[in-house]
Symmetry: C2
Subunit: 645 residues, 2 copies
């Protein structure tokens, strides 16, 4: 069933996905049901107590405050969208309650409590597209949505028990970067849309001015936190509270002086705790035609594809290689929980919550403890060259829970009034800064910046320098930007509801098509696993970019590299001990080298077995688990992914 879903997605949106999946469908019943979920729980359970004890850390406070603003304000903007376009079926309280539900469930029960879950842009689009399609048929809209939720619950659970998350090993930086880029641009677009709606008189210009100022000040707070101004604690304070305080300040600012006479638009709010529409919290989903119940299945399938991708990608990015995480991940179990919240949200008539980008990685970032590392100043002659290094992440459940409870508190009357004081211009400014920050941390941006940077002024240690064929870098970025452009374009049309298939097709595109164009050692530098092998234990280890084509693709080396194979030596390097293979997995310190050999061993084994992947995936997971847990035991060092610049 897992494979069937996957194949369905591949056939719907992209090339080559079906061929890959086809070889494994006949043996799907040999899947070790529940194995992924059980292993997730087995790995994570020992850390459960520490998740609460470790929360006794100051970093939880700023992370909570920032997440509260970064979660609730965009959610309110989305609620405004849905309110207008679903004829008041969804409103502020539904969106807030959905966030609260997700926060409580995931902070208490998830294997990955760092992942912030809430109402995203794509689900907003999904909701009103379904409304556009189904409302003319006279269907009970919320009842229909409930059935979508219930079907999706079933599908999520099937995907969870059949260990479908093992496919995540193919979700490299490539689709994650494209999706992250897409979401960031959606945020920027949303900001512009909000401003455009302010008319063409004083409120518009005041809103634009405020949005520009919010962006500028939040930007400078970010710059200060990266500069050498003040001391470390002041910089961290500015980084932590810069954006929230800016939002608060400008919400007050527009009420002073001559500005108070300008009729600004504020955030929309309604009566506290009640559904927006005139109904109880329980949706009358039994008042739906039987035919409509079954009509909900294809929508549920699309929703499931969207959530499987979006939630898992959020989890991957929030646990990316750049964060020195020490507690294990658990993708299968969290997918199961996501099914649960989807069903419950459906029954209560709430928009379905899932993993938030960019909030989830922002959350991990906010929980990072950093220190200053002097750079290139050996011999004591401090020339003021330095960089910030993340020493560890405060991994716990409290910040996620607390931001959810704050949101619940916001649903009470007095706080809704306060919320109503925030002008939409401030919201637009917040969207700009969040979009900008998400773009800033994106791998596509990093590669573009690398290309436009003066080559004589860049760090020679940057692995992208190792790519001799400069056009390869351009081509790779072009592929990413085209994929982004297509994704972005499709969500602007009525075909938006089918966009999950499209985005999912990026995975086989990466696994099957790109190795035909690029040398493996190039792909190895250009792309790589999003999360560290340690995090990827949950899904059976990482999928190296370079070893795949030898086993998965049936063509010979000549076919693969026929036209452009002017140099064949680099290809050989990947099987040796040289940089080709070492590039992606080499540890930072010497004591990581044994660990990394072990991890490679596990990884290579998993790839060699890929012809009967579905059967073996869980077995391989177990293999990798052994290798990687020994690796962890030996070193405890999180691996640096050198392809990330």
């Amino acid at each position: 069933m897992a494979a069937a879903n996957y194949r369905g997605a591949g056939a719907g949106g992209g090339a080559g996905g079906a061929a890959d999946a086809g070889s494994s469908t006949e043996k799907w019943w040999q899947v070790h049901l529940f194995r992924g979920m059980v292993n997730d729980l087995r790995r994570r359970a020992p850390f459960y107590m520490s998740d609460w004890v470790d929360a006794w850390d100051y970093r939880v406070v700023p992370a909570t405050v920032y997440m509260y603003f970064a979660n609730i304000l965009p959610a309110l903007a989305f609620s405004l969208d849905m309110f207008t376009r679903t004829h008041s079926n969804y409103g502020v309280n539904e969106v807030l309650l959905s966030s609260v539900l997700a926060s409580v469930v995931f902070s208490l029960a998830a294997c990955q409590p760092l992942v912030i879950v809430g109402v995203t842009g794509p689900i907003t689009v999904f909701n009103y597209t379904v409304y556009d399609i189904m409302a003319p048929t006279g269907v009970n809209y919320l009842g229909f949505m409930t059935w979508i939720g219930l079907w999706a619950l079933v599908m999520h659970w099937i995907l969870a028990v059949t260990n479908s998350c093992n496919w995540l090993r193919y979700v490299t930086r490539f689709p994650c970067d494209i999706f992250g880029f897409y979401v960031a641009c959606i945020y920027l677009q949303k900001g512009v849309q909000i401003l455009v709606l302010q008319g063409d008189a004083a409120p518009f210009y005041l809103s634009t001015m405020v949005a520009a100022l919010v962006f500028a000040i939040a930007y400078f707070c970010g710059e200060i936190s990266k500069s050498s101004l003040f001391n470390h604690y002041v910089r961290v304070f500015i980084q932590d509270y810069g954006t929230p305080l800016t939002v608060v300040f400008f919400s007050g600012f527009v009420h002073i002086g001559r500005m108070k006479n300008i009729g600004l638009e504020y955030l929309p709010t309604t009566a506290s705790f009640f559904p927006t529409a005139d109904r109880g919290w329980l949706v009358d989903f039994w008042n739906v035609r039987v035919s409509d119940i079954f009509l909900a299945i294809p929508f549920a399938l699309l929703l499931t594809i969207l959530f499987w991708f979006d939630h898992n990608v959020s989890s991957l990015i929030a646990q990316g290689t750049e964060y020195p995480l020490k507690k294990p991940a658990g993708f299968h179990w969290d997918l199961f929980l996501l099914g649960l919240t989807t069903g419950v949200a459906g029954i209560l008539g709430l928009p379905f919550p899932n993993g938030l980008i960019p909030q989830a990685p922002f959350h991990t970032e906010a929980l990072c403890v950093t220190k200053v590392v002097h750079d290139g100043d050996e011999g004591g002659d401090n020339k003021g060259h330095w960089q910030l290094k993340r020493t560890h992440v405060v991994e716990q459940r409290v910040s996620n829970l607390a931001q959810g409870l704050l949101t619940l508190g916001t649903m009470s009357g007095p706080l809704l009034v306060v919320l109503h004081l925030i002008p939409q211009g401030v919201l637009a400014g917040l969207f700009f800064i969040m979009g900008y920050q998400a773009l800033e941390g994106n791998g596509i941006t990093a590669k573009i910046l690398f290309l436009v940077r003066d080559r004589t002024l860049t760090d020679k240690a940057n692995p992208l320098h190792k790519i001799k064929r400069r056009w390869v870098l351009w081509l790779f970025i072009a592929v990413e930007l085209i994929a982004f452009g297509a994704t972005f374009a499709i969500t602007q049309t009525v075909a938006a509801v089918g966009f999950p298939c499209f985005i999912l097709a990026l995975i086989p595109l990466r696994a099957l098509l790109l190795p035909r164009i690029f040398f493996p050692h190039e792909l190895d530098i250009l792309d790589g696993p999003t999360a560290s092998p340690f995090t990827m234990e949950s899904v059976g280890g990482v999928h190296g970019a370079l070893v795949t084509p030898e086993h998965d693709v049936t063509g010979t080396e000549d076919e693969l590299f026929g036209a452009s194979s002017s140099e064949t030596t680099p290809r050989r390097a990947i099987n040796g001990d040289e940089s080709g293979n070492g590039g992606i997995l080499s540890g930072d310190g010497q004591d990581g080298s044994r660990a990394h050999e072990l991890a490679e061993l596990g990884e290579n084994r998993s790839v060699r077995l890929s012809e009967h992947r579905t059967r073996s995936s869980s077995a391989v997971a177990a293999d990798n688990e052994d290798a990687a847990s020994e690796a962890r035991r030996l070193s405890g060092v999180s691996r640096r992914h050198m392809g990330k610049v």
Copy 2:
């Protein structure tokens, strides 16, 4: 006469100036009249042809374009002020013609053709303050201004022939920084004032939005030019044309879309080439009461003090130590020219032009050729640490002349129409970016930034680290900020016309009071000559911060350092070969060391002779000339002023 003027200024505004000047007044007739001017011409004349030949350089183009905008737009803003507050006696055409006059005279005939001369903020204040004072008496205002100009001409010429610019050796970074800080803040204030005048409806908010965007984009152009993005040529292009193109773009921007319906205020213009008031270009200055002719003398004195300080400080900053200049300066001759333009401007009824801050240093900056120097990357491991180094300045007369001729062209009908398309919001944005850039390059800002910077992350080579008594740094900045605050405050009141005396008093304050508070080696780091010894040849060499008190002040060491003399050793260091003395004058390379010894020799001699300075100043100038020109011959290295961070 020079000394008398100086004493008058000192008595008018500050402590201790009179005492210093008093010792030399009785011998003022021993001044070698014309010696400074003749020497200026003698030094500069050999370079006159090269000033035209060297202009065959691309850097002249961006410098001309930038100066055109940076000169004309603020001038127009000032003209708006004067137009309103002098009852239409001064308008756009007077201001433009004044700039043209100054540009032609100074670019053709000055010894320091890099110094951009035009209509400044202080002269605007002066003009309408005189109007406020004199208009109620029913005087012929423009005629009265002519007499001020003519008296000022006489005073300027007296100051020029009596070598008064030799006093400039006491004009260290201290008063220059304060004055530069003041002018930068005036620019920022002016920008805010322009915006405030836009009312409280849509035009106000659109103007503010545009001002913010102009500032932001010009700021990012500046940041890009300092970054490693693109290659050197693209960065230089962005730095050169970023601000002008931003101004042009936003002048068009506000005319598109929904913005074209907003009734913005534009720059005020009038009919081309004619005076604003209904008169010929020649002022009927004979129609002034005889009593009023003599009443003009005190005003002329204030004007002369202002111009002596403002023009010379502009020249000093535009030829600061940070610019690797190779052609000699000539302060006396330029003061003579300034008297000429003041008189001519008076006769034509134009506002009096003088040296522009921050435009003059911006002009030199725009003419600098820079290159990238890799920093701390010895041994070939390029880690991307680098800095920009100015290799030389394109010293010529064409850019100054060309921007003046462009201004003349702007006085023609069609271009006045174009000028009228620039909205005042863009102007405010330009004021913000110019004020910001002036502040960014200011010594006070640099010291404040040093203090708020994380000490563990700063370059240990920064000479400010050598000041052990941290509070000394705070106190020095406090003194500078108080002096700035007082200056700024006084120009907001009716006493504004007396502000030149106040600002001039900073010089004796520095020379006499500060050495009583700070150790010489501290002052040596905190302060120093604005221009290099090479430039200061024109005024008889630099005045070292440290050697003065021993010779000029009669008190003993105990009196000087009585209260705070917990440590006396540092004082001794200054006479040795240690850092105390070397700090301010040491060259960059080894071959500069002989040169610097010679320069010191000359300097020390000049100070020792200070009891009969008026007589000896020109002789010392000759001494220093020998020393410094030998120094130049030996090394050609421009000295780095280590106090500037």
